[in-house]
């Protein structure tokens, strides 16, 4: 869809592939549904929240903004991530962070397969038992700054109890871990889902509050 206006978009139901692709500033929330493959593909700014699971290659080529997946992510989450922030609250499929060149990714659940395959930049926070592609990346214990960054990323998906000792940071071989976290925002084809623009002209703070309110409302409904 490629929204460059600062608006909030609420998508209800399952969305197709390329949801919020090329998003350039919108706030997109997928509520109670699954996102298809290539969520937030090529996003340059904005924020995308999926209260559900995402398909393959979530956050592919995203160079800015923030992608929050409250459920599981499919294979190759953060494929060639190029500067955006991606947080997966649930489990991630195989090949997370493959070809990543920048940005930050937090995998709070289990990560199947190899993490960081062919990565050349950025940082991945993964559980200690994650298998890392040692030919191009290495896993390091979290220092104080990295632990704080991880907690901040986890807090974005409403996870407040994170044990930094259970996580490692995966960085490219021979490079220092870049400062994590870029500002974020999110739009895209939505398959057969119902799309509703609910919040025009939102400021960043208002947008963040909007995302939080939708997530809280969904949580209440599920309870």
């Amino acid at each position: 869809m490629g929204l460059d206006l600062r608006v909030g978009v609420l998508v209800e139901g399952d969305a197709g592939d390329f949801l919020a692709a090329y998003n350039a500033g919108a706030i997109v929330v997928l509520k109670r549904g699954k996102a298809g493959a290539y969520l937030a593909y090529g996003m340059t700014a904005g924020e995308v929240g999926v209260v559900g699971s995402a398909g393959d290659a979530a956050g592919a080529y995203a160079s800015g903004g923030r992608v929050l997946v409250y459920g599981d992510a499919g294979a190759r989450a953060g494929w060639r991530l190029a500067g955006a922030t991606l947080v997966v609250k649930g489990d991630a499929g195989e090949g997370a962070g493959a070809g990543m060149t920048g940005g930050a990714m937090a995998l709070l659940g289990a990560a199947r397969g190899t993490v960081g395959e062919g990565m050349a930049g950025g940082v991945i926070y993964a559980r200690r038992d994650a298998r890392v592609d040692t030919s191009c990346a290495r896993a390091r214990d979290l220092d104080a700054a990295a632990a704080a960054a991880l907690k901040e990323l986890a807090a974005a998906v409403k996870v407040t109890a994170v044990d930094p000792k259970a996580f490692v940071q995966v960085v490219p071989v021979g490079r220092a871990a870049p400062a994590p976290g870029q500002a974020a925002e999110g739009g895209g084809p939505a398959g057969g889902a119902r799309v509703r623009v609910v919040r025009p002209s939102a400021s960043p703070d208002e947008a963040k509050a909007f995302v939080d309110s939708v997530v809280a409302r969904v949580a209440e409904e599920e309870d």
């Binding site: 490629g2 692709a21 090329y22 493959a37």
Partner: protein, 339 residues
């Protein structure tokens, strides 16, 4: 004199008469009576602009050339008005990256230049740029080899996403880099999502595809691609005969970075006089187009865009095998097992 030099000096390749011997293709009349309705008077009439992607739409071009400036990382500021003036004067298009288009959208709009937006792994599109473009050129892989999508099955969704980005205003063409097998099935499915054409790049270095291979690719687009419109690439500035050959192969538009690189290379001689630089570039492009028209008229066509594969004869066995064109003298296509 290399091809850049020849192009920039505006020298007709046909007038010199030295390039024909090494060409792999010749343009011939399709039938004995071809050209019965064309004559000397037609030669003075400039062909009317046509859509860049043929019946599929796209901006109208008087000269079926798209000057690819999207590879320029940095360029002198004066180069941009020069490119806009030259493209506007000749009626060809410019291929630009999102950053280039966004930074100078007013300039290109004021100059009434047709623009294609280059979208790919190394140039992520933005809505503002996509809406300012007359067409989208979606590169399936970057120069470094990074694929835009994980598999061909995602192509229809990617096309949909890019077209949505432009507000469904701009037709899209997928550019296939050399050495990559075109996902014909996915291309067929993507046509329903608004894919108008498929483009084949020439490439450089070891990956460079000779002109015969690109002519063969165009034939594939007509058969395997279900008749999808085709754009062909040429890294070096094409001369008139080469342009006519690519059009005869089925290309609706020829995408080439060569003229832009030539302008960049020789632009310093104009000492900042961008109008003189633009005029020199326009003269060079006009010479190429005039040569192509001369070649076409020799085959009985008033406009090179009317040439077809019936006008194409391969002059070497290799060219015939790679392209599927009829072999000169033999006048038949080689059997399929040598293709």
């Amino acid at each position: 004199m290399d091809q850049h030099e020849r192009f920039w000096r505006g020298r007709s390749a046909l007038a010199e008469g030295d390039a024909g011997a090494s060409r792999p293709f010749a343009i011939v009349a399709a039938a004995t009576g071809a050209g019965a309705s064309s004559g000397a008077a037609d030669a003075a009439v400039a062909p009317a602009p046509r859509p860049a992607l043929g019946p599929e739409g796209g901006p109208g071009l008087a000269v079926p050339l798209a000057l690819d400036a999207s590879r320029l990382a940095e360029a002198p500021p004066k180069l941009w008005p020069a490119l806009a003036r030259a493209a506007s004067a000749t009626g060809c298009a410019l291929v630009l990256s999102p950053d280039q288009l966004l930074a100078r959208a007013e300039l290109f709009r004021a100059a009434r230049v047709a623009t294609f937006l280059s979208v790919g792994p190394d140039s992520q599109a933005t809505p503002g740029a996509a809406r300012a473009a007359g067409g989208l050129l979606m590169r399936l892989a970057s120069r470094g080899g990074a694929p835009a999508v994980l598999d061909g099955g995602a192509l229809p969704g990617w096309v949909e996403a890019c077209r949505a980005l432009s507000g469904y205003q701009a037709p899209a063409a997928v550019s296939i880099p050399p050495g990559r097998r075109p996902p014909w099935r996915a291309i067929g499915e993507a046509r329903a999502a608004g894919l108008a054409a498929v483009a084949f790049e020439e490439g450089e270095g070891a990956a460079r595809e000779p002109i015969a291979a690109r002519v063969g690719r165009a034939a594939q687009a007509a058969s395997a691609g279900g008749g999808v419109a085709c754009l062909l690439g040429a890294d070096e500035p094409p001369d008139g005969a080469e342009l006519a050959t690519l059009l005869a192969a089925g290309a609706r538009t020829v995408v080439t970075p060569g003229p832009v690189e030539a302008a960049l290379r020789h632009g310093g001689a104009f000492e900042g006089d961008w109008k003189a630089l633009a005029d020199a570039l326009a003269h060079a492009v006009s010479t190429v187009w005039d040569d192509a028209r001369r070649v076409a008229r020799g085959a009985g066509c008033a406009d090179p865009r009317d040439l077809g594969r019936d006008n194409l004869r391969a002059l070497t066995y290799d060219a015939a095998a790679l392209s599927g064109a009829r072999l000169s003298g033999f006048d038949e296509r080689l059997p399929w097992w040598v293709h």
